[in-house]
Amino acid sequence: MPENHRTHSRGDGKYVIGRAADVPPGVRLLVNIEGREVGIFNVDGTYRAILNRCPHRGGELCKGDVLGLVESEYPGQVTLDDSKKFIVCPWHGWEFDMETGESWYDPAYNTDPARYPPARTFDVAIEHENAPERAPREFARPANAFYIDPHAHRLAGPYTAVTLPIEVEDDYLVVSLRRPRG
């Protein structure tokens, strides 16, 4: 993975990463946006942008394996759902849903709320409005710690990795650091 790939600021809170064609399926880049390391992934044709920092202990999350969802009801019966992708932190193996950033290893069910505070998700991680020289500020809101994924029947864990909106404009990959309106 090329590190500190240079990005170009469009001045509207969006950053041009490079040509989409240079990031084919299975490839990932590590880019630097306003001092933040962000991993850019092409997961089976879908682009994902995730902050390169594991919310658990700060490991370089984007250097971990990208794995499909392994599920089982009982030993001997195991399925792999390749349509759901998780990034696995290389430090402690925590899994994060690449779409939502939600950690999934640790069931919120029946755990001690004193030790495991409710999960937090970030609307958009970084505010970039008019102070490029200032350190970006993060906005957090509590998420529903007991949310159950209706597809995978798994329970949300206590952490959320920061995912960023990424889209293709005119064949170029563009990552947004703007807060969504509303």
Partner: protein, 368 residues
């Protein structure tokens, strides 16, 4: 050495109900089983002048830990080998509502048909000479094997439905870890018969050492090292998905102690977070699965002597339901009833001394 367990002492320390989940009894001699053995095996035993399976190796009779002073017999009778002794020492003296008999009769080696015949005979002997003699007694089935799961399951199906059997004795030292799939027929049979699997000190007749690195030199090493077999069995059962395969399975760890449980489970819980994908059937924290499927006998208490410290360990179990009181008659592990009661918060006392066992073994219900 411990203070004698007297009737007065028991009432002074704990005035409530007691269920004793680990009363170890002995076959007094192989001749005791002759009424229950086929002729071919009696001839075999006589011809070979074979004294029968022995627990001497686990419990050398003169070791203080093997038999408490007040439970030794003056006339040289094998300790814990008759209903009269158990009645006097446990049922009456301690005013026990139920006592679960565990006969550590090591038939897990030798010729396979002989192992089956001995297990059947021992279970019939338990039924006729113990369970029929006192309504407070319940018992664990003795199983052949344990390297013959089909024979184990067959004996569970044969003798398990008989009144008084609430558990099957699974020797802790088995040829393979109990999580291995070759034991699935055994757990299937336990579920089918609504019996508890009691993983108890025992096994090793096939020469299995108590440690994975072979035989220690001295008895004290073996005595203390024995716990690692239980630790490995628990991890195996969890990792292999036994409780997901058999969601109604209930196990009891007997003679394993429990002070090791929180540390092992913390370690497994922590590592499971990172390698959960390897064992995807394990969807919940392993310690939570343990709380649903496993109970632990209070004996031995591993030498703890300060109630506050033991209380902390018990708190770390994270549940009031996991411990079941057991004297581990006739052994002397230095366990003290005062210490146990002193280390339990008030709300837990009735549970540990009686209710948890009643619940786990379904005592007093459906003819049990």
């Amino acid at each position: 050495m411990s203070l004698p367990l007297t009737a007065e002492h028991r009432r002074k320390v704990w005035d409530g109900s007691i269920v004793d989940v680990d009363v170890n009894i002995e076959v007094p001699g192989i001749e005791a089983l002759f009424p229950y053995l086929e002729g071919v095996w009696i001839q075999h035993i006589r011809e070979q002048q074979w004294p029968g399976p022995s627990t001497q190796y686990f419990y050398p009779s003169n070791m203080p830990s093997s038999v408490r002073d007040e439970w030794r017999t003056p006339d040289g009778q094998v300790a814990a080998s008759s209903v009269g002794l158990v009645r006097e020492h446990i049922l009456d003296r301690l005013d026990v509502d139920y006592a679960i008999l565990n006969c550590h009769f090591p038939v897990d080696g030798g010729p396979p048909d002989f192992s089956v015949a001995l297990a059947r005979a021992a279970n019939d002997w338990l039924l006729n000479e113990w369970l029929s003699a006192d309504s407070r007694l319940r018992a664990s089935l003795i199983l052949p094997g344990p390297n013959d799961p089909a024979a184990m399951a067959a004996e569970i199906d044969r003798a398990g439905p008989r009144p008084g059997f609430v558990q099957a004795f699974l020797p802790a030292r088995s040829g393979k870890l109990y999580g291995k799939r070759l034991y699935w027929p055994v757990f299937e049979a336990l579920e089918r018969n609504d019996l508890v699997g009691g993983i108890h000190i025992g096994g090793g007749n096939d020469g299995l050492p108590p440690t994975s690195s072979g035989w220690p030199s001295w008895y004290v090493e073996e005595y203390v090292a024995e716990v690692q077999v239980f630790e490995s069995q628990l991890i195996s059962l969890l990792g292999e998905g036994t409780f997901q395969k058999f969601p109604r399975l209930r196990l009891a760890f007997l003679g394993s102690g429990f002070t090791w449980v929180p540390g092992w489970m913390w370690n497994l819980d922590r590592n499971w977070k990172g390698i959960r994908r390897e064992v995807p059937w394990l969807k919940r924290r392993p310690f939570e699965v343990v709380r649903d499927h496993v109970r632990f006998c209070t004996a031995p208490m591993d030498g703890g002597s300060i109630a506050e410290e033991l209380a902390l360990t018990i708190k770390w179990l994270g549940s009031d339901d996991l411990l079941m009181y057991g004297t581990e008659y006739p052994r002397d592990h230095g366990d003290s009833l005062d210490l146990l009661i002193g280390s339990l918060i008030e709300d837990m006392r009735a549970k540990v001394m009686s209710e948890n066992a009643r619940d786990w073994y379904r005592l007093g219900s459906r003819g049990r």
